[in-house]
Assembly symmetry: C2
Homo-oligomer: 196 residues x 2
Amino acid sequence: MTGPRARGRRPGDPDTRAHILDAARELFAQDGYERASMRAIAARAQVDPALIVHYFGTKRELLTASLQLPVDPQSVIGEVQSRPSGERGAALVLFLVRTWDRPDYRRNFLVMLRAGASDDQARQQLQDTMRHSVQHAVAGLVDDRRAERAALVMSQMSGLALARYFLCIPEIVAMSPEQLATAVGPAIQRYLESTW
Amino acid sequence: MTGPRARGRRPGDPDTRAHILDAARELFAQDGYERASMRAIAARAQVDPALIVHYFGTKRELLTASLQLPVDPQSVIGEVQSRPSGERGAALVLFLVRTWDRPDYRRNFLVMLRAGASDDQARQQLQDTMRHSVQHAVAGLVDDRRAERAALVMSQMSGLALARYFLCIPEIVAMSPEQLATAVGPAIQRYLESTW
């Protein structure tokens, strides 16, 4: 194994892992899982390919790491839970739009969609993440029919992300996080507390 | 050009075009646009590859045809518009879930998602379809802030489709079209008529 390139990042740099992950998400989003090579990811991250193997293992394992959510849903829910119960729908929308609006997180969403759409194993992993992480966390906000309500919340939030970051529907893109919280929040609120 | 194979479909068969389109959607959904070959699509449709060229032109043009919506949004909206205005949200959900629940239409949704996720040209085409066809049709249901309301309706409907057909969230998959109309209909209704 060769060492890192002279002008590249060093193995000891605590940000090296994060830089590799950023580069991997960029190239997985841009070229797709199959076409993005470990060599190209290494070049983008300015590291030696051997360093990627050291931190992540195989390309498949690098994809798995790239598909991790950028924020812990449980901590978001903890924050939302501290609000009055009638404001939680809007708080959820506000928090998630502000998070996804960050270019690096948005890329994460596109990687997940792209990998899941073209690879059954990645789709399965995405399903597991959504069910066992996001849906489980949202279920902590409600008292009855927890899994069903959480699934409906999740479907509305996914649709919002799809419209804003993937389909880029101009009216949705033009709205501020606060405007989206006002427009979409009550729909989320209804899934959290109404009877139907 | 060789003629259609002995046991294959004939050029004169009025269903031939539809059979080719079915086969193309199946293989585009299964293998992705790049990997699905014209030869494999022809074999699946039991036609000579030359017949595909005759009906659709290039592989790119075949993808374009595959990305067409299976139903005309304008006719759905016409049907929904005949209902009392307070029932339109539920009617929209019911109609769309029943449509997407058909395996051939569901495949159409997955082809659109997969192609759009891996190919910028297909994503642009998907954006155009959503804006100029779906969003435009839904805007016909409302009196003010038409494009914005229609965009929000579309975001919720896309999220529902994503959860039911792509992420396969068990609680969403388990609900009947009628149950989904009851649960999600009022959210759509709100986007059609509320002020915020």
